[in-house]
């Protein structure tokens, strides 16, 4: 699971921090920081965090396709 938060949209409600405290945290009163590549064990909590975000600022992605250093054509 990969995580991205749109920090322009984020209004620091902190629902993600409650849902997945190992992945999201505040630095200072209002500054959110987060692990973009949390351990798989956190997946359920991260999904809850994304659903709980009042401004829907969290995007989740799954690394479905390698982006390798050598050339690979995937079609």
């Amino acid at each position: 699971m990969h995580v991205l938060v749109d920090l322009n949209r984020c209004e620091s409600y902190g629902q993600c921090v409650f849902a997945a405290p190992d992945v999201f945290r505040f630095r200072g009163e209002e500054s959110l920081e987060y692990d973009h590549v949390p351990d798989g064990a956190s997946d359920a909590a991260v999904r809850r965090a994304a659903l709980a975000c009042p401004v829907q600022a969290i995007t989740l992605g799954t690394p479905v396709e390698e982006a390798p250093l050598r050339e690979v054509t995937c079609r």
Partner: protein, 453 residues
């Protein structure tokens, strides 16, 4: 295939703007051959945490990968820089000698950190810039060595990157000196008035902030390591690590000779992200997106600039994908927005505070705690900055979009009794004639609306 007949799209640059353009193209139904070219040997990653979560030691640089929300079915050419663009032969040349053909090409090469102007001094052990993963890893390791030794971190330049590096340095317990040529940190983006407010708060966090100060030279200890810096007033400042944070240079060197209008300020393009030739006419099939794109926002009376904002990359990616896939040309008129986290402050901005002539406190207090300031140009509200007030900006964004008069009538419960507008204090280049961006209060507001070229 797109509506316009493109079968091969090549995106040069595999960071946020390039990746998001690829995703938007596939979402819009592009089924042709898609190639992403990146000079760094890494999958696309998020850069803003480099100066914050990474330097402070909370996140490794391998924890920043950008999520991919769909399978891109792309050909990835990573770790190989593009070295040329041939618009006649319709191919991108790579450093390894290959040429990659295209029907449409998207320029998304971003920017690099402006290097220290004297190369030998810039190569001293202990002198850093911060732009990519490798920079951050080197700097983090060096700062960790410094911790507990009492040695000083010198940050040259008090813009956003420099200020965030200084903040991370203070978090690590380092003594930190920041030199800033102008009268306040962040003055280019937020103006001297609000910049001074931020500067006082930086000092309260223990930063030795030297304003109107430049570094004359970086000094060798005799063995190729940094010993300190000679300041413009003659002082020799001891420092074991220096971070050169003097802004960025748009990565356009590889476009030399292509016929595009491109220099260190960016690739000239229109608000639809279409590259422009020397005659100002759109060059067919060539798009620019993200930090490398230099364009005039249709909502503001300002010179063309490169919006080096994270959100701009997202908005332009959607615009480019639409314009490749559709015959109706769409402009990007998304309101600019950016943020910075430093010294316990969450700083969020909307609009273009960097072109304002006036500023007014609308909520909170400049002395302490949260505040919001609105920015005006020629009597029109054009921007707002919120410090530790992340939930108020939507209202200001609406006022900016509606071109509300300045000072705006906010009437917030936490607003000042008598709001008094003052000079925003945006630095202007003294040696250049004032362009349209430097509108005086006497100039009638001439905000160009969507639809005009």
């Amino acid at each position: 295939m797109s509506a316009s007949g493109a079968e091969r799209v090549v995106i040069v640059g595999a960071s946020l703007a390039g990746l998001r353009t690829a995703e938007a193209l596939r979402r819009a139904g592009f089924a042709g051959r898609l190639t992403l070219i990146g000079d760094e040997p890494y999958e696309p990653y998020d850069r803003p945490p480099l100066s914050k979560s990474v330097l402070s030691g909370w996140l490794g640089t391998d924890r920043l990968l950008l999520p991919r929300t769909r399978d891109l079915h792309a050909r990835w050419l990573l770790g190989v820089p593009a070295t040329g663009l041939d618009l006649e032969a319709k191919h991108v040349r790579l450093a390894d000698g290959r040429a990659v053909g295209f029907d449409r090409v998207v320029l998304a090469t971003g920017a690099s950190a402006r290097p220290w102007p004297e190369p030998f001094q810039g190569a001293l052990h202990g002198v850093h810039v911060l732009r990519g993963r490798d920079d951050a890893d080197r700097l983090r390791a060096h700062l960790a060595e410094l911790a507990g030794t009492g040695a000083r971190l010198l940050v040259i330049g008090g813009g956003f990157t420099g200020s965030e590096v200084a903040s991370s340095g203070r978090d690590m317990g380092l003594s930190v000196t920041v030199t800033q040529r102008g009268s306040a940190p962040l003055a280019g983006a937020l103006g001297g008035f609000v910049g001074s407010v931020i500067g006082e708060r930086q000092r309260a966090h223990g930063v030795d902030l030297r304003l109107r100060t430049t570094v004359h030279s970086l000094v060798d200890d005799g063995s190729g390591r940094l010993r300190g810096a000679r300041l413009c007033d003659g002082e020799l400042l001891d420092a074991r690590v220096a971070v050169v944070a003097m802004g960025s240079v748009r990565a356009t060197g590889w476009l030399r000779g292509s016929g595009l209008v491109a220099d260190e300020r960016g690739v000239s393009c229109d608000a639809a992200c279409r590259a422009l030739g020397a005659d100002g006419i759109v060059v067919g099939g060539v798009y620019a997106v993200g930090d490398v794109a230099r364009w005039r926002h249709p909502g503001f009376d300002a010179d063309p600039v490169s919006f080096e904002h994270w959100g701009n990359a997202l908005a332009q990616a959607e615009t480019v994908a639409h314009n490749i896939m559709s015959d109706d040309v769409r402009q990007n008129d998304a309101l600019p927005a950016f943020w910075s986290d430093q010294f316990g402050m969450n700083i969020k901005a909307v609009g273009m505070p960097g072109i304002a002539d006036q500023v007014v406190l609308t909520q909170g207090s400049f002395e302490h705690g949260p505040f919001v300031a609105a920015y005006g140009l020629a009597g029109v509200t054009i921007g707002a900055v919120a410090v530790n007030s992340p939930r108020v900006l939507d209202g200001y964004a609406a006022m900016i979009t509606e071109r509300a008069p300045f000072p705006p009538a906010v009437n917030a419960a936490d607003g000042p009794d008598c709001p008094v507008a003052g000079e925003a204090g945006i630095p202007r280049p003294a040696t250049e004639p004032a362009g349209p961006a430097a509108a005086s209060p006497l100039t009638a507001p001439a905000i160009v609306r969507e639809g005009q070229p």
